[in-house]
């Protein structure tokens, strides 16, 4: 199994790998969430992680921007690189890391502030103090997520007054405002209604041009539509494993693993 992984890694390193993990494992106390996961995230590509619930996909995302630091009994082993940068190093500046690696959550989480402050607060914390500059960034990122025309007259309204889909696009825009290189998305559409979900999906597809996107999804059809690379997680021996990783076309059309084949054809999972 590891052999296939490494082969696939080799295949993907042809292009520009922005971030990669090597034999990454995570455990909460004695419970191992996932084990031995090696993937590469490419510049200007969408990488989708699919698989049944509880196989550690979301935990895996949280490792990549060290959000796991917040969890008390959580232990991460293995290596993560962002270009040449060793993410696992305790000494690194996690604030700089999180600025380069944005994170979108399953449930939209705008701050309970007005729309403008949702951008101004993180921007100010990261050193953008000038009002005009903030206004320009807000307009640019809201246009990027297609929200500008819907909200440009209500930037002083509470972000919580927006619909779920709008909130999620706001959160994506908020992450984009910090000009990250990698975007981690943890089931960004699953808490939304079908129409909003479609809008957000189109948005994710369009983000491919500028960012390396890693998206966790339960929705195989969605992965098929938007992903360039696909990783399949599965639970084995009560722990998550990456059983297959490769180009989306190849994973969906000629999966190498029996479980993948069963999963994508709808027989399992």
């Amino acid at each position: 199994m590891t052999v296939t992984n490494l082969d696939n890694l080799q295949a993907t390193t042809q292009e520009s790998v922005l971030m990669r993990t090597e034999q990454l494992s995570l455990s909460y106390g004695k419970k191992i969430a996932f084990e031995d996961v090696s993937i590469a995230i490419n510049q200007s590509k969408i990488t989708a992680l699919v698989g049944p619930s509880g196989c550690g996909k979301s935990s895996f995302l949280s490792c990549l921007n060290r959000l796991t630091d917040l969890i008390d009994n959580c232990r991460v082993t293995g290596r993560i690189f962002l270009e040449k940068w060793d993410v696992m190093n305790r000494q690194i500046d996690t604030i700089a890391l999180r600025r380069r690696v944005g994170h979108i959550f399953q449930k939209p989480n705008p701050f309970p502030l007005d729309l403008w402050k949702n951008f101004a607060f993180p921007l100010k914390e990261h050193g953008v103090k000038n009002r005009q500059e903030i206004d320009l960034i807000v307009e640019r990122v809201l246009k990027d997520v297609g929200l500008w025309h819907e909200v440009k007259d209500r930037l002083k309204d509470s972000a919580l007054a927006l619909s779920g889909g709008q909130q999620q696009r706001l959160c994506i825009a908020r992450a984009l405002a910090l000009e990250p290189e990698v975007l981690l998305m943890d089931e960004p559409c699953s808490a939304l209604d079908p129409i909003s979900s479609g809008v957000v999906e189109d948005l994710i597809a369009s983000l491919r041009q500028k960012y390396a996107v890693l998206v966790v999804t339960h929705n195989l059809a969605q992965a098929k539509r938007i992903a360039d690379y696909v990783g399949v997680f599965w639970v084995r021996d009560n722990r998550g494993k990456l059983i297959e990783f490769g180009e989306a076309k190849q994973v969906f059309e000629s999966p190498q693993h029996d479980l993948t084949a069963a999963y994508i054809s709808g027989h399992r999972g």
């Binding site: 921007n65 959000l67 917040l70 008390d72 996690t94 604030i95 700089a96 890391l97 999180r98 600025r99 944005g102 994170h103 959550f105 449930k107 989480n109 705008p110 701050f111 309970p112 502030l113 402050k117 607060f121 993180p122 914390e125 990261h126 509470s158 919580l160 007054a161 959160c171 908020r174 992450a175 910090l178």
Partner: protein, 304 residues
């Protein structure tokens, strides 16, 4: 809980007749308890009004503000010095205790390791449980002599403020801790994933989200500070005069009632009831204000 289980697993009426309906008993016991609780509050208010009426009917509320001083035996009923005493002691202690309580709650929630945070929370709860007379006793024996060395007589507004601060601090700290605890985890995760500092997140996200809870906490604490009698009575000197400095002795409205009710007769007695009624009205207003703030200005509840 067996009766509940029975009811859930066998909702049919056939089954119901064969066994005694404990649910019915429970519901009626609860209804009667609730009615008694409500009735007690109503009866107290009615009693206060009835006892106050003799004075209010004869003299109105004018004498409380226009008489020369408080001397019921001569028929003088000026409350103002005691109103000032109550107001200053309450405000002083709330102004000091609020930031301290909020800071201690922040420490508990966001900075202390889990084990220390929990231990600290238990300690604060313990502090809240100490009987007020014990605080008063400590104030009388330790605090008053200390202030006396600084500036006689010692028994003073300052002593009252310090004692009240210590007494209401745990309330504010616990309410603040609870309202910080209710700030959704997603906000904190979101802020961390944007690379925001802890302090920045607390100022910009946690405070706006916990604002209504904090306000409510402060208002309830004001109520507690106003109503506190025993400890204040023991350390404040109880001289009826409007204080001109923080070292002057004061008498609060509550202390006044406690001190004089035992021998008060006629108009004097009725006047004391008026002051009780006034205190009750202030507490009701504060409770209403707290309720209004909770309902209207909570962005978190608006979301859910």
């Amino acid at each position: 809980m067996t009766w509940l289980k029975d009811k859930i697993s066998s909702p049919s009426k056939l089954n119901k007749s064969s066994q005694f309906d404990w649910d019915w008993v429970l519901v009626w016991v609860l209804r009667i308890m609730a009615a008694i609780t409500g009735a007690i509050v109503l009866l107290i208010v009615i009693f206060l009004i009835l006892e106050s009426l003799p004075f209010l009917q004869v003299k109105g509320i004018g004498p409380f503000f226009t008489d020369q001083r408080w001397n019921p035996t001569e028929g003088l009923y000026n409350f103002t010095p005691m109103l000032w005493g109550t107001l200053l002691a309450t405000m002083g202690s709330v102004v000091v205790a609020t930031p301290l309580g909020i800071i201690s709650a922040l420490f508990c929630q966001y900075y202390a390791p889990v084990a220390i945070g929990n231990l600290y929370r238990r300690l604060i709860e313990l502090l809240a449980g100490i009987p007020s007379v014990v605080y008063g006793f400590w104030g009388l024996v330790v605090l008053v002599p200390l202030i006396n060395r600084l500036h006689p007589p010692g028994a003073s507004l300052l002593a009252g403020i310090i004692i009240l601060t210590i007494m209401i601090l745990p309330t504010i700290a616990l309410v603040a801790d609870a309202s910080f605890g209710k700030v959704p985890q997603e906000y904190l995760l979101g802020a961390t994933s944007l690379g925001l500092s802890k302090w920045g997140t607390i100022c910009n996200v946690v405070f706006p989200a916990a604002k209504s809870g904090l306000f409510t906490g402060v208002i309830l604490t004001v109520g507690r500070a106003i109503g506190e009698t025993m400890a204040v009575l023991m350390v404040c000197g109880n001289v009826v005069e409007t204080p001109s400095s923080i070292f002057d002795p004061i008498r609060t409205l509550t202390a006044n009632i406690a001190l004089e009710m035992a021998y008060a007769l006629g108009n004097h007695r009725s006047a004391l009831f008026v002051s009780g009624l006034a205190l009750m009205a202030i507490i009701v207003l504060l409770a209403v204000a707290a309720e209004v703030i909770t309902v209207t200005s909570s962005p978190v509840t608006k979301n859910s």
